[in-house]
Amino acid sequence: MTTMNMLQAINNALDTAMSADERVLCFGEDVGVFGGVFRATSNLQQKYGKSRCFNTPLVEQGIIGFANGLAAQGSVPVAEIQFADYIFPAFDQIVNESAKYRYRSGNLFNVGGLTIRAPYGGGIAGGLYHSQSPEAYFAHTPGLKIVVPRNPHQAKGLLLAAIHDPNPVLFFEPKRLYRASVGDVPDEDYRLPLGEAEITKEGTDVTVLGWGAQMEVIDQAVERAEKEGISCEVIDLRSILPWDVEAVAKSVLKTGRLVITHEAPLTGGFAGEIAATIQARCFLYLESPIARVTGIDTPFPLVLEKEHLPNHLKVYEAIRESVEF
């Protein structure tokens, strides 16, 4: 065990994967000698050489097109998009290519080796274009897996699982927690399951669900609610696609209430998908409407980002309203 922040855990996961398999490559803008603008790929070029860890020209559609080709060839590319806000030039390569490679070829070819890493989320005074949470756009695309870690231990285990998963995986990293989240991380190679949620706290009155950086917000909200005698069950979804319907449904059948929170705007956000599925599964057991606590339907603001974000107070309010409904 070593105490690491999330960036160190991610760097350690990449190091672990690259040392175990020479087909693993890391590349993206400023990823090479500089180690990425957040330093997630620090020292990897020095350790594994320029052919396996390198800078690309500044062209996201090219990075992912290149990565798709590499994965089809049998390499194991880990492509970095510097900010999730800048993933959209690569939307075609991800949605029409990565996601459909295996299906359209009848499994003759696949890009299962592909992992795309991108920092997402707000709370860093990043404004419109350094704060977005674009998971819902990709969640509408069968063929992709989408994973979001909440802390260093999860980050290493989920990233290693993503790299070794035989499907293309989008790995969204909560950049607000890059240095803020610190914890013990095993030194060896370990993998956490994709598509499985984790119950991080058991409770009986209400289920509170989130992923990534929002888990820290949930913990604060729940602490406040529990002081008032509300017993909360907390679930970290971990995988947005495919997502763990069984785990969430099981919890809601027990608590009868569900609060879902994410940073992305309300309309078309992934909470809507979860709410629709869970109300169908748990209709007769629900004690209150499923609540969504999210960013409001605007571009991401700058000076007023605190007002915009679904912080612990808003989540706490939703928990109370759900229980008192």
């Binding site: 396996r52 020209p57 062209v59 080709g69 290519e97 359209r104 003759l108």
Partner: protein, 394 residues
């Protein structure tokens, strides 16, 4: 100023690149004779006939399948007509282990590699033997054993993928390369620029083959770019480039062979611009009479690449009129008979609706599939293609 070694001037000096003229490489005249100073490529009889037969096979397949589309037997078709030399001549210059990442009009390359008429037909009819399991429209072929990447409809997406694929080949060190085909219209996509730039920066063994056939559906090349074709763009990436008469199979073969050497032996990516003409419509859904003249088409028909090669083969006494007649007859018969067989085969089984989305269907998808099967069981007459797969009680 930090990255250029160019000289400094003290008044504004613009340049439009007009001083760079990219010549067109050509060996064979339309009468099948070589140009005076042209040298015959190193091409033996066996290989020359393999190339020729792939070109003729492509022409016959295209004629027959367009007719089948017109008869309503096929939903859609795309012909390679007029561009057979550009496609087959270049593919023949590669090793069989080299990857081909094509656009959609390169069935000639696949025919050259040995894709059988039966394999073509199974894809065209999307039957249970189609490698693509009936998921894609006709002409979206793919073959793992022949190193021919399954076709994808979105234009130009294969170009940066070819750069990535070839980068992986370079690391693997087996001396293989990738060729990617695309039209001059697709070269306007951002993916084209991304791919060429990345290939040049990272010294990737990839050959970019632009089929400049004059039209992107109805849009003529003159409305696609202001420059003299696509070739001059290579200068901007510091990439080797050659322009070739795309209707001259010997020139295409020779140029691609030299390009392959640059790619594999020197890690230099190459851009080849094959100047040709799309004699057919864009697809079976298109009618060129709305945007180009019969005279223009007739002028290009005079430059038929297949006839040009045939005359050369005859001049070498490697091919006779009798051979031609026999081959055409045999091929037409095979195409017709194979088509009838392929058309009768069953559609892919219902489960192919959910397989290969992921390596394994996730629970949510498996659940949706069970619901669908129950629905089909209730209305078997409405789903004649799949009802037989869901026999049993409701």
């Amino acid at each position: 100023m930090t990255t250029t070694k160019a000289k400094v001037v003290y008044s504004p000096a613009f340049t439009d690149g007009a001083e760079f003229q990219i010549p067109t490489f050509r060996l064979l005249k339309q009468d099948g004779k070589l140009y005076k100073s042209a040298k015959t490529p190193d091409l033996d009889k066996e290989k020359a006939l393999r190339i020729y037969k792939a070109m003729v096979t492509t022409r016959i397949l295209d004629e027959r399948m367009l007719a089948a589309q017109r008869q309503g037997r096929l939903s859609f078709y795309m012909q390679c007509t007029g561009e057979e030399a550009a496609v087959v001549g270049s593919a023949a210059a590669l090793d069989d282990g080299d990857m081909i990442m094509a656009q959609y009009r390169e069935q000639g390359a696949l025919a050259y590699r040995g894709f059988t008429i039966d394999e073509f037909m199974n894809q065209l009819f999307g039957n249970e033997l189609d490698y693509g399991k009936g998921r894609q429209m006709p002409v979206h072929y793919g073959s793992k054993v022949l190193n021919y990447m399954t076709i994808s409809s979105p234009l130009a997406t294969q170009i940066p993928q070819a750069t990535g694929y070839a980068y992986g080949q370079k690391l693997a060190g087996q001396g293989e390369c990738t060729i990617t085909y695309f039209g001059e219209g697709a070269a306007s996509e951002g993916d084209f620029h991304a791919a060429l730039n990345m290939a040049a920066v990272h010294r990737v063994p990839v050959i970019f083959l632009c089929r400049n056939n004059g039209y992107a559906i109805s849009t003529p090349a003159a409305e696609q770019f202001a420059a003299d074709g696509v070739a001059p763009r290579a200068y901007g990436y510091k990439m080797d480039v050659i322009r070739v008469d795309g209707n001259d199979v010997l020139a295409m073969y020779e140029a691609t062979r030299a390009a392959r050497r640059l790619a594999v032996e020197h890690n230099r990516p190459v851009l080849i611009e094959a100047m040709s003409y799309r004699l057919a419509a864009h697809s079976s859904s298109d009618d060129p009479s709305g945007y180009r003249s019969k005279d223009e088409e007739a002028a290009w028909r005079e430059k038929d690449p297949i006839l040009r090669m045939r005359l050369w083969l005859e001049s070498k006494q490697w091919w006779t009129e009798e051979d031609e007649k026999q081959f055409q007859e045999d091929m037409r018969r095979e195409v017709l008979e194979t088509m009838k067989r392929a058309q009768k085969r069953s559609p892919p089984p219902l489960e192919t609706l959910i397989t290969d989305v992921y390596d394994e269907a996730p629970p949510m998808l498996a659940e949706q599939f069970e619901k669908l099967k129950a629905h089909i069981r209730r209305y078997p007459d409405e789903y004649p293609k799949s009802a037989r797969h869901v026999k049993g009680g409701v």
